[in-house]
Symmetry: C2
Subunit: 166 residues, 2 copies
Amino acid sequence: MAQKLEFSIRKATPDDAEDLIELIKELAIFEKFPDAPEIDAKILAHDLERKACFAFIAKYNEECAGLALYYLAYSTWQGQCIHLEDLYIRPKFRRNSLGKKLIQEVAKEAYEKKYKRISLIVFDWNQNARNLYSSLNAIDLSKDEGWLVYRFDEERIKKLALNSDL
Amino acid sequence: MAQKLEFSIRKATPDDAEDLIELIKELAIFEKFPDAPEIDAKILAHDLERKACFAFIAKYNEECAGLALYYLAYSTWQGQCIHLEDLYIRPKFRRNSLGKKLIQEVAKEAYEKKYKRISLIVFDWNQNARNLYSSLNAIDLSKDEGWLVYRFDEERIKKLALNSDL
């Protein structure tokens, strides 16, 4: 087996926002929603600054290789916890255990801060990601407990908010 | 059709934590995880105070009838948004459109603050809740896009954080 590449991984700062947005856009293309990202580097920098979200960024020399972006969620069973919103490794840097390393950084953060849960959602067709999570012993809650994901989007929020006769 | 009961709905304060915890425990029993709630009123009061979570509380006269508890999540597509963590109506107050009213309060909050998404997860067997969300036109993302829910629990976080050989 070829020797694995060595990456530097660190907590992202607002100055990393442009690099992060580039990766977020690549991930959206991979997820088949290329036009979905509506936020830009300026908004993301502001949101990192005020801790609306957090990220670990992985670099190979000067080049961005991947990210793990998360936010602080809340469980009424266990209190404050982590939701891993995005995990992305650029194709040419895959097969170097970088996904595992990034998740481990998030887990270290959770362990240090005593957050008892890291949650995430994943597309059923994203078998590579599911294999990674399974190899790290994540629980498939949809299978084990039958959880489904629902959403109200902007249009539906507006309708709910403004229609008192619903 | 009998006349519907009238409820007062307002934003919860840290002083409501004991009432909220009572409802949270009832919800956990309904969800078949009676021993799951690990946080107490003191922790919840502190977390409401520091805005780790937010809630709307519904009362009928002096009695607690239901709650909608949420937190500020983050989407790398749309920025800060809302995750509705718990929605619960006490059995004797059901069939009064209170679930709908509580969700509308959350939607008004989202609309005012320009949050473009309200997400939630629901058990597949909780048909009453699913009917409510569907009647309010929520998108079933698991069905439409194939999203699954995964989790690392406390034991798995510890193993990931401490095992450098994984």
